[in-house]
Each structure stands twice: as structure tokens, then as C-alpha cells.
């Protein structure tokens, strides 16, 4: 590793199964403070499962080691991981009718040990963040993700991320379904928390986000594994040639390490 500081996040030998079906098949990843890692790969390769598995989704069976800021978290339930600074931004944030954005944020920040007892000060802080992220203030009193457009939901995910000051952030296709303005908001949010020293792992399909958020490292996911790693500019090759380019690269690699026995890659 080029970075000499202690990793903010690392995982080793992550395997994830859903309904007894193996989806993620052994992934190692190390991220240092302030680093932004991109995770790319074809649909169905296991990226989202990997992202939600790291957070401890109860429907997934996860094995392997997960270390956050020097502490093992793989045995912890999701809310404990969140309290230690792990944040997952959802691809499809779920609606919770009847719970307002403001009351949800207050409950969440309280749970994370932040002081929100001064209601006036809390509303003021909220108002500032809303304005900064271009979210109309009226959203504070709307029901969480209920009737929001795709872009509105994603802005709200970024807002939560910024307010919760996490140590390591996993963003699952945070850039899908965004217009250019929303994409800029999302990108500036990510850059902001990385500058504050958080580590970031973004699952994405698109160069356009990576133009605004330049990754330290890009990991290419295939069939439940990181098949290939590259620098930020490797994404341009992918953009130009599509995932066939990746397949060819990987096929070559798989041929070299044929012990995996993945013969279907060749066919």
C-alpha cells in the first residue's frame, strides 16, 4: 500500500450468500482515510449485495472480517455499525410514511450520539444543510422518501451522510437517476466528507460521477469478486470498450489462475 496511515476500513475474505445462493465469493478491500474507491462491474455481479452485506443486512449471510477504524464490526447489528461510523447510502431508499424527514434525522442523530436537544438550534442546522444541498426546506416536514422523486431521494441520502459525519461511507449507485444539478450536489457532498477524512466506497456505472469525484482506486467486480483493479483513468477504457474489455482482461487473468475452475468465463 502506498498510504502509510492506518486503514479506516478493511475487509478480508468477504463471502455473502442470499437464500443459500453464493453471490460474493471472497473479497478483500482496504481503504485509508480520505481515499475514494470506486466499485464498478456489470449488473448482477454482486456489487449491491457486497455493499449491503458490509452493513449487515439481516437477509444476507456474511462471512469474513470487517474492520472499521481498527475495530472488528462483523458481529455487530446494523445500528451498532452505524453508530461506529459506517454509512450506507441506498440505491433505492425506502419510504417510511408518517415519519417526517426532520423527526427521522433527529432520531438518527440522537442515536449516533449527537446532541439535538436544542430544537431551535437543530432546526437551524438542518436549514443550513438543506440550503447547501439545494433541498427545499419544505422537505423537512414531508414524510421520509414518501413520494420523493429519484433525485430527491438521493439528495436526501447525501444530506444524511453529510450530517452523520461517518468514518466510512458505502454508496450504492448514488448517481443513478440524477440530473446534472443533483449529480453536482452528490459529488460535492462526497468530496466534502472525503476531505474531512472519511473513506468512501462508491458503487457506480458511470464515468460522469467519476469526473466529479476522482477515485483513488477503481475496483472491477465480476461474478462476486474483484476481478481487476486500476487507477482512475482505467475507467475511460471501460467507457470506450464496455464490459467486454473487462471480460477479456479477466479471462486472461482467470486463465493464469485456473485453480478457481471458472470455466464458464471462457465459453
Amino acid at each position: 500500500m502506498t498510504n502509510a496511515t492506518q486503514p479506516i476500513f478493511s475487509c478480508q475474505g468477504i463471502e455473502i450468500a442470499a437464500d443459500a445462493k453464493s453471490i460474493v465469493k471472497g473479497v478483500d478491500l482496504t481503504v485509508h482515510p480520505g481515499e475514494i474507491h470506486a466499485l464498478m462491474g456489470p449488473n448482477g455481479s454482486g456489487k449491491s449485495t457486497f455493499a449491503t452485506g458490509l452493513m449487515g443486512h439481516p437477509a444476507l449471510t456474511v462471512s469474513g472480517r470487517i474492520t472499521l477504524n481498527g475495530e472488528s464490526v462483523e458481529e455487530m447489528p446494523p445500528h451498532e455499525r452505524a453508530r461506529r461510523g459506517l454509512f450506507l447510502g441506498f440505491q433505492y431508499p425506502v419510504a417510511i410514511p408518517g415519519v417526517t424527514v426532520a423527526s427521522f434525522l433527529r432520531a438518527s442523530l440522537n442515536a449516533l450520539g449527537k446532541n439535538t436537544t436544542n430544537v431551535f438550534a437543530f432546526r437551524k442546522e438542518l436549514e443550513d444543510v438543506f440550503e447547501r444541498l439545494g433541498i427545499p426546506w419544505g422537505f423537512a416536514d414531508r414524510y421520509l422518501n414518501d413520494g420523493f422523486s429519484g433525485g430527491e431521494k438521493k439528495r436526501l441520502e447525501i444530506l444524511q451522510m453529510v450530517m452523520m459525519e461517518p468514518k466510512f461511507v458505502i454508496l450504492d449507485e448514488i448517481d443513478s437517476g440524477l440530473d446534472v444539478d443533483a449529480l453536482k450536489v452528490v459529488a460535492s457532498g462526497i468530496n466534502e466528507i472525503a476531505a474531512r477524512g472519511a473513506g468512501v466506497l462508491m458503487v457506480t456505472h458511470y464515468q460522469r460521477l467519476l469526473d466529479l469525484v476522482v477515485p483513488t482506486r477503481v475496483h472491477y467486480f465480476m461474478e462476486g469478486k474483484i476481478a481487476f483493479e486500476g487507477e482512475a483513468d482505467s475507467v475511460r477504457e471501460l467507457e470506450a470498450n464496455g464490459y467486454d474489455w473487462l471480460k477479456q482482461k479477466v479471462t486472461g487473468q482467470v486463465a493464469d489462475v485456473s485453480i478457481t475452475g471458472k470455466s464458464e468465463v471462457h465459453s
Binding site: H57, P78, A82, F87, V99, A111
Partner: protein, 472 residues
């Protein structure tokens, strides 16, 4: 104080707050069981006019003749032992107009229930039922100036016999059903409200009900008349002590909204889980009038309650907004009835239920559009949320539509507490128990937001109590 601590604090003093009982006053109590003599004794004790005494006796005959409902939770209602119930217990206290006149032990009860605070805060009148009699009853001066009558039903009968005779049992005759007949025979207490024409009662009128004596049947009778162009909001809140044997609560509530009048009747019912709550609630809405039932059912062993609005005059509007929470050992059998009897009448029903553990929630609804009631609109939404695999919900909607141009919307949804909602909140640091509570409170929010603030808070606390220990 965090929400988590809050939940535990509420739980810790629950028995203290709600599970207490004062030594019963035995003077004047009718013997257990029901017969003509008991009915006469009640009427004599109250020094009622002959017509009411005759009414009670006829109602008693109807009670004997009427069969038990053949539907609903047969396992419970067919096992009611009517001979093992006290039908009348007067309190050991006289009716008090001023707080100072109210006996100390009863004051303590109301202190625990928070009645004085409620009044201090914003209420114009308090009518608090303690056992069978209303012992404390106050009305602010401006209400009196407005000519608004707010009394317990017994005083109403004494002081305003003409109004009572005109409207009493005009909406729900004793022959309506077995429990309405029973109530008509032995009724005691309840509220009587008359609002004069074009008078608007700006603050909600409220009454607390409470069953104090073991095996005590409570048969209050409420009659509200909103005269032409007037409006009133009445709130009924219930708590009951924890007892081990079944207690029967069988109320009758009649609302009359005359031309262009508006009545809202809100209930938060929190009977202890041994109470059978078999209530008949019905309203008549005349031309241009509007009646809303806002009905929350949290406790009891079995509740059977189907608030009804008869839309009798053109353009009348009826609304039922109800929530039910069925816990282990509880059956909430609730719903609504809308009878469209005049043209261009509209109705809306929103029913939300939550079943937890082995709790069971049923929605039983009727919408009828009678011949000649053209241009009607009705909209029924039933939302059921199941918290556990063992929970149960049933929906029994009935639509009887005679006029073809009626606009009828009906939607029923059953959902399980979504794991993805829980996961989302947990990913934001919120522990599973709190997360579940947030989702449940959110589910009830369309109901809660219709309540005055302190009731909304009380309801949320009750739900927090009911949700205790619901995780793993």
C-alpha cells in the same frame, strides 16, 4: 430524555398510573344480575319520569328477546354471563360542580388520570364519569352564555326533559341489537350535549370514563345534538384499572347533526385487556351537515364497534377515521357504516389496524346507497399492518349500492412490517425497537394528527407501551 428511556419510564409507572382502584363504594349498589326489579330500582334511585322507566322496562324485554349476534367473536360473546355482572353502582359522592366539592379519593383518581391538567390547559368543560355517575362536571362561563348544555345524561334528563324525550333513542332504538337493548334498560351516566343554532363551541368538550368496580358493567349513554348551523367537538378518553375478571362495557352514543351542523366525536379507548367493549355508535346527519367519528381502539379483550353515519339530508357528509391496535389476547373488531339516504351525500372511511403477536384485527364495514340517493360519493380505505407471523387481520367489507351513478372507491391493503424499512432506520443508528415504534407511529400518523396535541402524545405513549419487547 431519550425516547428509549421514555418508553421504560412509561412502563414502570403504568400500574401505578392506570392499574389502581379505590375501595368500592357499596351503598346503593344493585345486586348482581339483571331482572325487572333491578331495572325498576335503577329508575327509582334516579327518580326518573315514568316515560323513562317504561322505556327501560320495554328495552329490558327487547334485551331478553334479541338474540346474540351470530357473527363476530362467538367464542367470547356467547360466554358472557349476564348474571355475574353488577348493573348499577352509584359512587359514594355527590355530583360536584366545583373542584373543591369533589371527594378526596376521587380527586386522587383524576389526578392520576390527569384530568385537572387537561382542564387547566385548554378544555372548556370536564365531564368525568366515575363508576356509574358523573361526579364532577364543569363548564366554562362562556359556554353557558352561549346556551350550550353540557351535562351528564342523568342531569340532562332531569333538567331538559323535552329535548331528551325528543331525541333519546331516536337514532338507536332499543330494538337495534341486544347490547343496545341492554344499555337502554340499565344506562347510567354518559354525556348530554345540546348546542344551539349557529353556535360554535371552539374548544373540545371532553369526558373521561373509567370502570372502577370489579365485574362492573358500565352502560353510559351519550346524546349530542348540534342544532342548525352549529359545531362541536367532543372527546372521549378511556382508561381502566387492571382486573382479572371480565368487565362488560356497553355504551350507546347517539349524535344528531341538524341542518348544516358539524359534529366531531373523538375517542381514545384504552380499556384494560379484560374488558369487553361492545358499543353502538350512530349519527344522523341532516341536510348539509357533517359528522366525523375519530376512533382509536388500543386496549380491551374484545372490541366490537362500528360507528355509523346515516346521511339523511342532501349534501350531508360522514367520516370515520379509525385505528385499532390488537395485542396478544385481543380482538379488535371494528369498522364503519355509511348509509346514504339522500342525494349528493358523501362519505369517507379510513381504517388502520395493527396486529401484534397473536392479536387479531378485523375490519367490518358497510356502505349502503339507498334508492333515490343519487350523486353520492364514498371512499373506503383499509390498511392493516401485521407485526408478526402469528398476527391476524380480516376484512369484511359490504357494499350495497342501489343507485348506479354512485362513485364508490374501495381500497384494502395488508402489509407486513417491512424488513427494508427496519433495515433503513437501523442503518441510521436507530435501534430495532425504536425503529419499529417509529414505523408504527408513522402508520398511525394520519389518525394522530387529527387529535389535540395532548391526546396525540398520550396515544404515542400508549403505542410505545404496546410495542414494548416486540423485538425478538
Amino acid at each position: 430524555m431519550s425516547a428509549q428511556e421514555n418508553i421504560h419510564t412509561v412502563n414502570a409507572d403504568y400500574l401505578e398510573r392506570y392499574g389502581f382502584s379505590d375501595p368500592e363504594s357499596l351503598e346503593g349498589r344493585a345486586p348482581k344480575g339483571l331482572n325487572r326489579d333491578v331495572v325498576k330500582m335503577i329508575s327509582d334511585y334516579k327518580k326518573e319520569p315514568d316515560w323513562m322507566r317504561e322505556f327501560r322496562l320495554r328495552a329490558y324485554d327487547s334485551f331478553l328477546q334479541k338474540p346474540m349476534p351470530k357473527w363476530g367473536n362467538q367464542g367470547i360473546i356467547t360466554n358472557i354471563d349476564f348474571d355475574d355482572i353488577y348493573y348499577y353502582i352509584p359512587p359514594g359522592a355527590e355530583r360536584g360542580r366545583n373542584w373543591d366539592d369533589v371527594p378526596e379519593n376521587i380527586k386522587r383518581t383524576f389526578d392520576k388520570l390527569g384530568v385537572p391538567e387537561a382542564e387547566r390547559k385548554f378544555l372548556a368543560g370536564v365531564s368525568a364519569q366515575y363508576d356509574s355517575e358523573v361526579v364532577y362536571h364543569s363548564m366554562k362561563e362562556e359556554l353557558e352564555k352561549q346556551g350550550v348544555i353540557f351535562l351528564d345524561m342523568d342531569s340532562g334528563l332531569r333538567e331538559h326533559p323535552d329535548i331528551v324525550k325528543k331525541y333519546f333513542a331516536s337514532v338507536i332504538p332499543p330494538t337495534d341489537n341486544k347490547f343496545a337493548a341492554l344499555n337502554s334498560a340499565v344506562w347510567s351516566g354518559g354525556s348530554f350535549i345540546y348546542v344551539p343554532p349557529n353556535t360554535h363551541v371552539e374548544v373540545p368538550l371532553q369526558a373521561y370514563f373509567r370502570i372502577n368496580a370489579k365485574n362492573m358493567g358500565q352502560f353510559e349513554r351519550t346524546l349530542i345534538i348540534a342544532d342548525e348551523g352549529s359545531s362541536v367537538h367532543y372527546i372521549e378518553g378511556c382508561t381502566a384499572p387492571v382486573y382479572t375478571t371480565d368487565s362488560l362495557h356497553s355504551a350507546v352514543v347517539e349524535l344528531v347533526a341538524l341542518k348544516d351542523a358539524k359534529i366531531r366525536y373523538s375517542t381514545i379507548q384504552n380499556w384494560s385487556n379484560n374488558v369487553l367493549n361492545l358499543v353502538t355508535k350512530r349519527a344522523v346527519a341532516h341536510e348539509g351537515a357533517s359528522v366525523e367519528w375519530v376512533d382509536g381502539n388500543i386496549g380491551s379483550k374484545l372490541t366490537m364497534k362500528f360507528p355509523c353515519v346515516i346521511l339523511k339530508g342532501e349534501r350531508a357528509h360522514g367520516e370515520v377515521l379509525s385505528v385499532a391496535f390488537a395485542q396478544d389476547g385481543q380482538h379488535q373488531d371494528t369498522g364503519a357504516k355509511m348509509i346514504h339516504s339522500a342525494p349528493n351525500t358523501t362519505s369517507r372511511v379510513v381504517s388502520k389496524s395493527i396486529s401484534k403477536g397473536k392479536g387479531r384485527a378485523s375490519y367490518r364495514g358497510l356502505v349502503r346507497v339507498n334508492q333515490g340517493a343519487t350523486g353520492c360519493k364514498t371512499d373506503v380505505t383499509c390498511d392493516a399492518l401485521l407485526l408478526d407471523g402469528a398476527s391476524r387481520t380480516d376484512t369484511y367489507p359490504t357494499m350495497e349500492i342501489v343507485e348506479q351513478d354512485a362513485q364508490v372507491e374501495h381500497e384494502a391493503r395488508v402489509s407486513k412490517l417491512a424488513d427494508e424499512q427496519l433495515f433503513y432506520l437501523e442503518c441510521r443508528g436507530i435501534d430495532p425497537e425504536k425503529a419499529k415504534l417509529m414505523i408504527v407511529n408513522g402508520f398511525f400518523e394520519p389518525f394522530t394528527k387529527e387529535l389535540p396535541m395532548e391526546y396525540a402524545i398520550e396515544l404515542n405513549r400508549l403505542i410505545a407501551l404496546e410495542m414494548e419487547g416486540s423485538i425478538g
